[in-house]
């Protein structure tokens, strides 16, 4: 137990040391790098997956493709893919972003598809009956109703990308994984641990932020735990 407390003390010291908070390899720079990889990959993945998922969900054509793709890509080892792309393209932003996009597409695609597909048919028919054109049905009715599942997919995708972006450091690309790998290489366990704390903290913080966004964006009628009041009186 003494060893554990000693270690925690050195962990606190690591965080208290001002030189870990400045310069090109300080914590803020690494956090920003990490967020940059994450945001870029999730953004591009969303640009591809949300329209595609919405189209497939709206028309109902190609649903098997979404399910198959989502399952198949889950089996793909991200570390192997990243290293493969780095060896083929050289070290740079492109291979990391590509690997992370591949990771982020399945949850976004599956979430959007399931969300649009599961909108109550009566609601969609009512929208058509009111004279809405297909695009308006999708934009004004299906997508807002699908929002909880789309944002659920976005959260899952973001979490996986943040988690996986840690291995970018393994191929010399920075991000928060750097502290873990440099710590291990120099046998500096407090630094490794500090890296792990930062990674877990960032993942938790982003997850909370997205949960908050989800609560703000989703229509009150679609929130869980809503008590639907009868229309009496």
């Amino acid at each position: 137990m003494n060893g554990l407390f000693g270690l925690l003390e050195r962990l606190v010291d690591w965080f208290a040391d001002p030189k870990h908070w400045s310069g090109f390899d300080g914590v803020p720079v690494r956090v920003l790098e990490h967020l940059e990889y994450t945001a870029l990959a999730v953004f591009i993945a969303a640009l591809i997956a949300i329209p595609l998922g919405a189209y497939i969900g709206h028309t109902g054509r190609g649903g098997f493709l979404v399910v198959g793709l989502a399952n198949g890509l889950r089996a793909l080892p991200e570390l192997g893919l990243l290293i493969l792309l780095v060896l083929l393209m050289g070290i740079g932003l492109l291979p990391v972003t590509l690997a992370l996009i591949v990771l982020a597409i399945p949850p976004l695609l599956a979430g959007t598809y399931a969300g649009v597909r599961n909108v109550d048919r009566a609601v969609v028919d009512a929208a058509r009956g009111m004279g809405m054109r297909e695009l308006a049905v999708l934009r004004k009715v299906e997508l807002p109703n699908a929002l909880p599942l789309i944002l659920g997919g976005l959260r899952a995708a973001t979490l996986q990308v943040i988690s996986t972006a840690t291995i970018a450091a393994y191929v010399s690309l920075g991000g928060l994984g750097v502290f873990v790998f440099v710590g291990q290489y120099t046998r500096d366990f407090p630094q490794m641990l500090a890296g792990a704390v930062l990674i877990a903290g960032l993942a938790g913080a982003i997850e909370l932020l997205l949960m908050f966004v989800q609560r703000r964006l989703v229509s009150p009628g679609l929130q869980p735990n809503v008590v639907r009041r009868g229309t009496t009186g």
């Binding site: 089996a75 080892p77 192997g80």
Partner: protein, 214 residues
């Protein structure tokens, strides 16, 4: 392909290690999450604790988990036990919620019928509720297993054995063949085990297909 043929022994060894570190967690996870899921399914207080804690544990990235666990378990950083425990935690987080949800949607009239037939709670759980939850359980087990097989490779970046070693060593040697072999093996392994689980699921739930027969 040449690399693959010249290293069959190595590949068999790594595949064996990989199966141990990725499938043991599925077994342990299932054993742990059944009682926890059952508890969360029937007790609102247990649910209010277990579900958020599972969600929280699930957000911890694997690399961070591999660093935290030696601290708690007193293991070395390259000990495969860390990966086994980490993947067990992920499996439990996924399954507890799934089991709780699956159990809570079992039709109340079915439960009442079982009770009226004289089933005591423990036996009713094993003979009635659990079998009805099997389809949901299997589909979540498949997700957990496939992601475990893929996630277990991450441990190799801090020196843990398994098929991930083909990635870390392939990177050091700049050996494209070795990495491609590793990727293909992991995907094939995941798809085979996924298929096995799917078939097991079908075999143990014959009643889900009777309606389709004509």
């Amino acid at each position: 392909m040449n690399w693959f043929l010249n290293h069959i022994d190595l590949i068999v060894e790594k595949t064996g290690q990989h199966l141990v570190i990725s499938l043991l967690p599925v077994l342990f996870g299932l054993i742990i999450s059944l009682p926890l899921g059952w508890l969360a399914g029937r007790n609102p207080i247990a649910r209010a604790v277990l579900i958020p804690v599972s969600a929280l544990l699930y957000t911890i990235p694997s690399l961070a988990m591999f660093v935290f666990l030696p601290l708690i378990l007193g293991t070395q950083i390259i000990d495969p036990v860390n990966v086994i425990v980490a993947l067990t935690i992920y499996t439990v987080s996924l399954l507890v919620r799934a089991i709780a949800d699956a159990l809570s949607v079992v039709d109340a009239s079915i439960l009442a019928a079982a009770t009226a037939m004289g089933y005591r709670p423990a036996r009713r759980f094993l003979a009635v509720e659990l079998p009805l939850a099997v389809p949901v359980l299997i589909s979540n087990l498949r997700v957990a297993t496939v992601s475990n097989i893929s996630l277990a490779t991450v441990g190799s970046v801090i020196g843990i054995e398994g098929l991930g070693k083909l990635f870390s060593e392939g990177f050091q040697r700049q050996n494209l063949d070795e990495i491609v072999t590793g990727v293909v093996l992991v995907v094939v392994l995941a798809l085979i085990i996924d298929l096995v689980l799917q078939l097991v699921g079908r075999a143990i739930t014959p009643w889900t297909r009777t309606a389709v027969k004509s």
